[in-house]
Each structure stands twice: as C-alpha cells, then as structure tokens.
Symmetry: C2
Subunit: 305 residues, 2 copies
Amino acid sequence: MQEEVEAWLKGLQDAICTGLETLDGAARFREDTWKREGGGGGRSRIIESMDSGFIEKGGVNYSAVYGTTPDFLRKEVRQLKPDLPDSSTEIFFATGVSLVIHPYNPWVPIVHMNVRYFRLNEEVQWFGGGIDLTPVFVVEDDARYFHSQLKKVCDRHQPNYYPEFKKGADDYFYIRHRDETRGVGGIFFDKLTTAPGISMDDRFRFLREVGELFIPVYSEIVNRNRAHTVNADEKEWQLLRRGRYAEFNLVYDRGTRFGLETGGRTESILMSLPPLAKWTYDFQPEKNSGQEKTLAFLKKGIDWA
Amino acid sequence: MQEEVEAWLKGLQDAICTGLETLDGAARFREDTWKREGGGGGRSRIIESMDSGFIEKGGVNYSAVYGTTPDFLRKEVRQLKPDLPDSSTEIFFATGVSLVIHPYNPWVPIVHMNVRYFRLNEEVQWFGGGIDLTPVFVVEDDARYFHSQLKKVCDRHQPNYYPEFKKGADDYFYIRHRDETRGVGGIFFDKLTTAPGISMDDRFRFLREVGELFIPVYSEIVNRNRAHTVNADEKEWQLLRRGRYAEFNLVYDRGTRFGLETGGRTESILMSLPPLAKWTYDFQPEKNSGQEKTLAFLKKGIDWA
C-alpha cells in the first residue's frame, strides 16, 4: 500500500500544481527538493507572483520521511494500539501532500489542504487529512458551496464521515485565545484505519476523492471572486486576518509544531505563513460592517452544508 | 515586600511611558485597564504613531494577578523547593512590567524588557526579568554599548550576574528552527531568591537598577540611529526580521504561551507582535550585504561587553 500511496501523492502534487498554474494564469511553481537527516525528504513547490495572477504566495509540498520512531510518536501509536509490543527497532514512515494558498484579493479565500499516510513497522497504518477555507470576508454562498461539495464526497463513503470530520475541522482550526475559528472550516480527520466493514482500500479511495476535489472546488470559489473590486479597508482587514492565520499556525498547528520540533525543513514548513501580515492593537470592526459579519461567522458548529 | 514591589512597578511603568513619549516627541500612550477572572488585573499602555515620532507600535504593560495556583506553576515551584508541603489552598501572586517597542526606522532596534516578582503563599518568592535588543541591522557599536551598560549594572551587584544572565539571554531568545538568536541578546534571569550572602532586598535593588536603566540606554541607541536614511531593501529586511520576531514570540516565548494558555488578556499579551511582518520563501541575503552581516551576528556566545 505504501508504494501505491506514494505514487498517488506525487501525481496529486503534479496535478494540483498544474491546476493552480492554469487557474492563476501567470505565476509558475518552482521546486526545491530536500533530504531529511535520518531518512527521506521531499519536494517543495512554491509560487510567488508579482504578476496578473491571483496567487500572492503559495506552496504545494510533497514529503516522505522515515526513520527511528521519536518517543512522542510511539506514545501516539500506543494510545491507538495499547497491545503493541514495545520494540526498540521501530521504524516509522510518513508521507503526504500539504498546500496553502494566500491570494492577493481579500475576496478570494485562503485555502489549505493536507492528505497523509502513516505507517509503523508492519503493525500500524492510517490515513489522515483535511481541507479548510479561510475567507477574509465570509461569503455565505461560497461557504455553503464548499461544505456541500465536501459533504457529497464524504456521503459517498460513510454517513458519519461528514458530521464527524466537519466537527473535527471546527475543533482543530480553532484559535482558542481569540475564541475564533480560523475560517469557515471544512473537514479534518486522522488515524483512519480498518474498522468493521471498512478496509484500508476503502479509506484510501476516500482520501483520493478528497485530494482530487481540491482543484475543481477551489477553482469555482476563486473564479466567483477574483474580479471583485478591493478598497483600502478590505486590504487592511486581509492583513489582520492573515495575522490570525500566522497565530494559528505558529501557536496551535500540530503539523507546524511537529515539523519545527523534529528538525524538519523550516522553509518548507513555514511556507504556510502569509506573505504580509499585520497586528493592530485591539482592532474593533465597525457596526454592521463586513468585518463584523465575518467575525460572527468564525464560530464552531455552523451548519454550512 | 509585595506592596513595595507593586508600588515600584507602577512608578516604573509611569516613568518609562513618560520617557518614551519624550523620546518619541509625537505619539502618546493610551491606557486600557483590565481585570482577570480569578484575581487581579492590569493596565496596558499602548502607543501607535502615524506621526513624526520613531515608534511605530509599542506597549508598556503593568499587571498584578493572583489566585489559585495552576498545576504547571505548582510543579515549577516544587522543582525549586522539593520539600514544600502539598496544599490545596495555594495562592500565587505575580506582578510585573513588560514592554516591547517596534520602531519605524530599521536602523533603530526593537527592544524588549520585563521585570517581575512571583510569590506562592508565604513560603516562596522570587524575582525575574530581562532586557534584550533586536536590531534589524546589527550595529556593532550599539550592541557593545548596550551590553557594557548592562554589565556595569550587573557588576555592581554580583560578579557572576553578567556572565550568567548574558548566557541566559542567549539561550532564551533563541529561534531554534532558524538556528538564530532573536537579536544581540542582553540579560535574562529568573527565580532569583535568597542565597548565601544575598537577601531579597539585594535582589530587589538589582531589579530596580535594571528597570531604571531602560530609558537612558534605549534613548542613547534611538538617538544614534533615528535620523538614518532608509531605502526599500532596508524596509524589506525589517519586515522579514519582524517575521522572525513573531515566530519567536508565538512559538517559544514562555510569557506569551503562559498568558495565552492561562486565559490572559489576548490583546495585552500580543501587543508584542510587530505592526507589519513579512514571510518570503527562503530569502537569501546578498553576499557581503548588511543583511548577511547581521545574520552572522545572530549567534549565541558573542562577547559584546
């Protein structure tokens, strides 16, 4: 299965980069390949546009790393499988594609997706992933469209997928010290392994459909909003919302903190940070403004689908 | 001692705000007072200038909080005093002044200072604090001046203060994932309690001299550099260096993480974040540029004094 997943992920990275270049119309990805001390490596693809496209900064990263299992990973595996014998020769393998896009136009939402596969020796393997949308201004129709497309994919597999994974995203993409969700959420899932009536092949089929949904769904949302006019207040709000994005990624995001703590490649991990961000002391939106309406939507538990 | 410390800290906040307003020449602090659920509160003083002054954004915060001791604080106290009896009625008290100044001109360094006092019931009390300088471009003469002034104060008290506390700052203000120090360091110390030949009054006298050093030393450094001409590359580098500052504060700074995790007032805690910051993928400075020279100075163990 590992090889099949790796091959699919590489192909997915290629397809998404091509799709985003087409959508952008101007910028091109550049690639950095890197090796990890201790095993594995990756290929980071970065796009930074100064042209007429919509992407200000983005990255689509593929990585496949392996090696002796760090303690915190062992603990995590043993929480899932308490009967696993303790072994000093445990080798972990982790592979995935991770992307973040920061558009110029504040009416085009920031987007993030991650699909991943983890294996420990022969005994444990799982899939994880997620996709979430971070609008600078929440456009309700777009949030509904985004969630209904995710729900459609989930519902083709298991009836509990969408409600569980939607709640997973609400809980995960949450900036506790602001009591704000990062955006309008999406789906987030982890440790999908075999279950009664569900094989790893079933899980993989689901993951593939999530990954392959990205380009069509994000293209629709980009095309709906990319020509929107922009004023100075809207740009200002974009910078503040990007500040929140940086706060989430640096304070809470497990992938970011895991990467930084285990000596991953810093520039690849932090490609998710916004090109430019702003912190103004105690910003208060005007009554009935789009900013205020957006804040009201940055809550858990909104039924968008 | 608690009341004496509180009175001094409030006076220090006043004196520093007045000193910074005079130095800036244009901007004025505004004050927000706040209360903490569970005990205590503070007064945040914020300065954001759009005028002819040198401060782009800054804050000088005083707080005094108390209440039932959270678990992680108990643990910390017991590491210092393992013989302390376990009690369910422990009350902690913590007070301090904390400041960060982000100047407009990239030739004027960012500065941070913190002086604090902690007490648990009647059994444990200590002082802590630090002051460090984060130049966008390292000016060697300024770094030497800064450290020699700190050393002078330290040396008036104990011969081991400067070497220990200078190393403390190198180790603390360190961005591990970049293998860079935040700036040129300064001094950092914690848990200063009684020791053979050193009373709490001695420690307090040292803390006072550190706090009172701030205005004269920073004024000298500001005045040396505030009229420096600035070009676009230098502004760009300032934004990238501020990105590093945000990374340090959100990923590593214990005060920030402690505050966010214990439900402190978010806007007061995050006043330390830069007004505007930038992340460019894999920025590489030109050979022999001021940017490259600065990076070479962002290392531990440089003997500035």
